[in-house]
Amino acid sequence: MASKSGTISTYSPLFSRKNPNFTNGVRSDGRHFHECRLAFLRTGAVNAASGSAYAEFGNTKVIVSVFGPRESKKAMMYSDTGRLNCSVSFTTFSTPIRGQGSEHKEFSSMLHKALEGAIMLETFPKTTVDVFALVLESGGSELPVIISCASLALADAGIAMFDLVTSVSVSCFKDDLVIDPVFEEESCQDGSLMIVCMPLRNEVTQLTVTGEWSTPKVHEAMDLCLGACSKLGDIMRLCLKEAASTLQ
């Protein structure tokens, strides 16, 4: 099949990697390396859902709605614990390239993994809880935002949980650790680490590491993430407190 002229041959792909735009320890959006984006959280975004929440971290905007617990479909096998159904989708206008909106299978399963440890599934046998996340605008670190927002929505829906779930990710560049990376930073990172934890219980429900890491760096990143997680947890609790006090 090779052409006789021999002009066609394979070539190794060229990685055109931009370098992150750091000047004197300040990132492109003016934050320091260990500084998270400003967060806005609000419960009750979707009226039709049993529980819902909206989260905005910088340019990343996410709506999560929770339906249920409702009776499982007959086709499903009997189970004496509840089921958790997660689905993450992107709007068509969420990314700079239009028309890529669809369900994100990988994020869906990651969200499921992150939440199932925190929800007391045994409290609602034979039933299903559906969690639908919709990314309105993706400005980096979508998954951590989705997970935190989802736990807020679950709490709003009155579903029994051990603790709120918070999540923060860190990007690794040669020597620097950058917390809560934005879209541009994520596209040129050397590695990433995401922690999902229950801050008041000091338990981790999920840990995802990609890329090349050294042991001390992983330690440093984990400390950084856990610290940020507990702070995010405080903000989330404040948001729920506020919602609860208006309901009194």
Binding site: N47, E71, K126, T127, A155, G158, F162, L247, Q248
Partner: protein, 327 residues
């Protein structure tokens, strides 16, 4: 039904804010807890941990967002926004979602569908007898899909499914009215859940599951008559084994405009109360309705910023004066 943003002027916003703050100060209930908050208890009292609590490192923590309630030794969290938790004898309003063999499946805001067996309801002819195959075929003539009905919680089976019963004339199909859904937390269990408001000609059913029915009054006697009529029709047709229900004669008798307005007024009063997060009680609903009439608020203006604010202020005033007399 929450976070409805009425168009409000700046002064209304300020007034509302002040009223809500006042309400918050007056609330006698313990402060709300949220997931993983520690519930202060005296561990030497041998307390019992109820729903919505868990133990963590020797402390009792909440697993739900809600209000802490204590009954003797039992400590439990009543969630603000959660599905309905049935108790035997509760009166519920629900919607038929499926007609299955020998049973109806109802949506009553429980985590599962509730079941109303054909055998646990009075037949239209009022005779106690075994249910025959013909009865089973005629189930759709009693309740159809999407009918709103009212029933009582009978109990739950071993597998957790919930059974209802409707063994009285007061239960049954609800027509000519509105179904409202509020958070089940807001409807407290009372002696009386059926209300007939004579002055408005309206029936009000406060379902414990947070579904509230506001409808034109249907006379109990008339209902019987209707049923008799229906059963006579059924008997006529039993031989042919079909019962395409003749067009309802109720459709002919329309509800007068005044009653319809009253239904809407009551429904809007309940909507406003549930938006403000007040417990839905008969007295408060009537009070709100009377207030709306005395303030000359039209039915449609009841769902507006001004009325919302005034109701909040009114309740705040009442609670603070009540507290003042107690002190």
């Amino acid at each position: 039904m929450r976070d409805v943003n009425f168009a409000m002027t700046q002064t209304q916003k300020v007034r509302l804010k002040r009223a809500l703050q006042c309400l918050r100060d007056c609330s006698v209930a313990s402060s709300p807890v949220i997931v993983a908050d520690t519930i202060p208890v005296n561990l030497e009292d041998n307390i019992l941990k109820g729903h919505g609590t868990a133990e963590l490192e020797g402390e009792v923590v909440a697993t739900l967002c809600g209000a802490v309630e204590r009954v003797n030794k039992l400590v439990l969290v009543r969630p603000f926004r959660a599905r309905y938790k049935p108790e035997i004898g509760d009166i519920v309003v629900g919607r038929v979602i499926e007609v299955a063999p020998k049973r109806w499946r109802l949506d009553i805001n429980f985590i599962q569908d509730a079941i109303l067996m054909l055998s646990s309801m009075n037949l239209p002819d009022g005779i106690q007898r075994r249910r025959t195959a013909v009865d089973e075929l005629n189930m759709r003539s009693i309740f159809e899909e999407n009918d709103v009905i009212c029933a009582e919680v009978r109990g739950s089976q071993n597998d957790g499914s919930l059974h209802l019963q409707a063994r009285s004339q007061k239960y049954g199909k609800l027509e000519k009215g509105q179904l409202l859904s509020v958070s089940p937390y807001l409807v407290k269990r009372r002696k009386q859940h059926f209300h007939y408001l004579e002055q408005y000609g309206v029936d009000l059913i406060l379902g414990c599951n947070g579904y509230i029915w506001v409808g034109a009054h249907s006379d109990g006697g008339g209902k019987n008559e209707d049923f008799e009529d229906l059963s006579a029709k059924l008997e006529d047709k039993m031989e042919v084994e079909v019962s395409p229900l003749a067009p309802h004669k109720e459709e002919a008798s329309s509800v007068p405009l005044g009653t319809r307005e009253n239904v809407c007024r009551l429904a809007n009063a309940i909507r406003i109360l549930s938006l403000l997060g007040f417990n839905i009680s008969m007295e408060l609903i009537l009070d709100t309705v009377v207030a709306s009439v005395t303030w000359n608020t039209t039915v449609r203006d009841m769902l507006g910023g001004e009325f919302y604010t005034r109701i909040a202020e009114r309740e705040a005033e009442r609670r603070s004066s009540k507290r003042a007399t107690q002190v």
